[in-house]
Amino acid sequence: MIAVSKLTKSYSSTVALNNVNFDFNESTVTAIMGENGAGKSTLLKICAGIINFNSGEILVDGYSIVKDSIKARKNLGYLPEMPYLYERLTGQEFLLYISSLRGLENPEIEINKLSDLLGIKRFLNNEIGSYSKGMKQKISLIAAIMHKPKNLLLDEPVWGLDPLTSKTLRIFIKERKNTTIIATHSPQLVEDVADVVYFLKQGNIISYGAVSSFIKKNGNIENAYFSEAD
């Protein structure tokens, strides 16, 4: 569970997030939608403890990302928008390295299972520098979920993935019992997996609620997005 209260973040004179509040509950898949530069990725980066913010409070499972940063990050998985990885390591070495940092015991079983599921297993012994965007995305995704985090932050998770992996990922997200936050531009993904959706515009929440109620009111999420954005 992640609670965000009165969060403000600005880059020089540009306000990325303006005094916003979010409640990302357990067993709930929450989608964040909005135009480019609305603050979606910034929100996820702040929740993951990667970037600083100006004011507000972030609690991950009750732990402050500022005061108890290590405890807060313990049960957190994060998939960035651009998966920059260590190019000189192989996929296998990279995943083992991340599991060592996370203190996971016998991670090979989980790595094998997930890499097989995502169709990246046969490339695991190649250096990441030779991977395509989608392959890097898959490795990054395994790194984000292999410790079975209670809180999962996914920034454009299906971007660059092949249709089969994209479908597998949708099923995985749908079946998760814990907190999942997805920043995306895809209305279809929101309809497929999300329970709640927030619409952001220029760092402000313009609307939020259950996906089902938005669909009921507007027909689909795409119409809801345009209707709310106006």
Binding site: K6, K45, A48, G49, I50, I51, N52, F53, N54, S55, G56, E57, V66, S69, I70, K71, R73, K74, L76, Y78, P80, Y84, L85, Y86, R88, L89, T90, Q92, E93, L96, Y97, I98, S99, S100, L101, R102, G103, N106, P107, E108, N125, N126, E127, G129, S130, A143
Partner: protein, 459 residues
């Protein structure tokens, strides 16, 4: 016309401006070190003239040519081979030849700009020293050499990062001819030939664009899980250093420098150095040879490697920041990794002593450890502070000169103590102890720089 050329220049200029505004201290340090080093070379020229040491212009020409070939290759590699944004230019209706030629033009003008800037500063330092200048033809010859270096640097990258490396053979031939004939007419003719060779090479430019090889590392022992964060960071860094051939290059430097410095201090410099430098070299003491050898090794093993450990995290900093790990622990893991390059420098002592058995083993070991630790103490916090912000060449150059000054001072102290007959051993141990304390402070500061600081948050 020149769309790619203009856009890259504008982008580079804006990046440069932004960097200066965001880190004025670093740029001030870099600029002052740059001016300092040029005036140092000017002073060295004065010293050579005053001591009637004839300087061979051929040697100077080749040193400058070599440096500019490296710079040209590096620039072309960054602007072309590994450039992602270039995909947009290459996918338009404009011919690939024209687009890549525009990138060559950027490299060409950067090289010439640097040459004009540095040679002007050097000339100013000579005028200040009272040396009369009248060598327009030599200057023109050197300028043609810089142009040649830009062309050669570009073709080296074009063919080295392709499957057909045999196309590099003409580069070797051109350099060989240049070593035999480097008067102004020869350089001009070679420049024209190289330019034709470049035009031919540009037909195959896409062979090297974003060139990657898929290397299967299934059989390597690194594919295992490692218990403990520091150990895992250590293994990851060592694997990277090994695969990027940093460790092997340090071993090579240690053997080469140890052999060279040992041989020259023992048997003199006949047949090894050009005649012009033999008089100067004969005046240098064995300790000074050791000093220069250890200094170069420190720059390679401690300074370059320490900075790389942090600056290579430019794009991947998100990874270590989102994990439940203290940055201090990551820093200690990196500190363990920096031990390995140190072991690679040890052959220097063995090779140096093989030629100078009477020299103090204790001093050599002490000075190597002292220099290496000084390099780490300075570079760790700087590397951590500038992760993802600055190019390593800027820091490398500034820190190299700083280390030169620090080591020079301590080397002078050592010589003074020797003259006055003080017992140095206690001081040696004391210096190392002080460095160990500073080392831990340096790690602490590095961890602090890597960590996100939330101190200004208001709730």
């Amino acid at each position: 016309m020149l769309e790619t050329y203009n856009i890259i220049l504008i982008n580079s200029f804006r990046n440069f401006k932004k960097n200066i505004i965001s880190s004025p201290t670093l740029y001030l340090l870099f600029s002052s070190m740059m001016v300092f080093s040029i005036f140092l070379i000017g002073y060295l020229t004065l010293f050579l003239i005053k001591n009637d040491v004839p300087v061979s212009l051929n040697d100077v020409f080749f040193i400058i040519l070599f440096l500019f070939i490296i710079k040209g290759s590096n620039d072309f590699y960054n602007y072309f081979t590994k450039s992602q944004p270039l995909t947009y230019s290459l996918s338009t209706q404009i011919s690939h030849f024209r687009t890549v030629f525009e990138i060559f033009l950027i490299v060409f003008w950067i090289q010439l700009g640097l040459w004009v800037f540095f040679s002007t500063l050097y000339n100013i330092s000579l005028i200040i020293a009272g040396i009369s200048l009248s060598y327009p033809l030599i200057y023109l010859n050197f300028t043609l050499g810089i142009m040649l270096a830009s062309v050669l640097g570009t073709v080296i990258v074009l063919h080295y990062f392709s499957k057909k490396k045999y196309r590099l053979i003409p580069v070797g031939l051109i350099l060989y001819i240049l070593s035999q004939y480097n008067d102004i007419y020869s350089v001009l003719i070679l420049l024209i030939i190289s330019f034709i060779y470049l035009i031919w090479s540009l037909r195959y430019c896409l062979d090297s664009y974003q060139y990657v090889t898929r290397k299967d590392r299934k059989k390597e022992k690194t594919q295992v899980w490692i218990s403990g964060i520091k150990k895992a960071v250590f293994y990851k860094e060592i694997t990277t250093l090994w695969r990027e051939r940093v460790l092997s290059s340090i071993i090579f430097s240690a053997v080469f420098l140890g052999f060279g410095a040992g041989y020259m201090s023992r048997f003199g410099v006949e047949n090894l150095l050009p005649e012009s430098l033999q008089i100067l070299a004969s005046k240098i003491s064995p300790e000074s040879y050791a000093f220069f050898g250890i200094y170069v090794l420190t720059i390679h093993g401690a300074v370059f490697t320490s900075l790389s450990l942090f600056l290579n995290e430019e794009q991947t900093i998100w990874l270590i920041r989102h994990l439940p790990v203290k940055m201090k622990t990551i820093v200690y893991g990196k500190a363990l990794a920096i031990l390995m390059p140190f072991f690679c420098t040890i052959p220097f002592i063995a090779y140096f002593l093989a030629f100078n058995p009477g020299k103090s083993l204790f001093f050599l070991i002490w000075f190597l450890i002292f220099s290496y630790l000084a390099g780490i103490i300075i570079c760790f916090p700087l590397g951590a502070k500038y992760v993802g912000k600055k190019s390593d060449i800027l820091l490398l150059y500034s820190v190299s000169l700083l280390i030169f000054i620090v080591l020079g001072v301590f080397f002078a102290i050592n010589s003074i103590l020797e003259i006055f007959g003080f017992s140095k051993y206690i001081l040696y141990v004391l210096f190392i102890l002080v460095e160990i304390v500073l080392l831990f402070i340096s790690f602490k500061i590095s961890g602090y720089f890597l960590e996100i600081r939330y101190k200004n948050i208001s709730s």
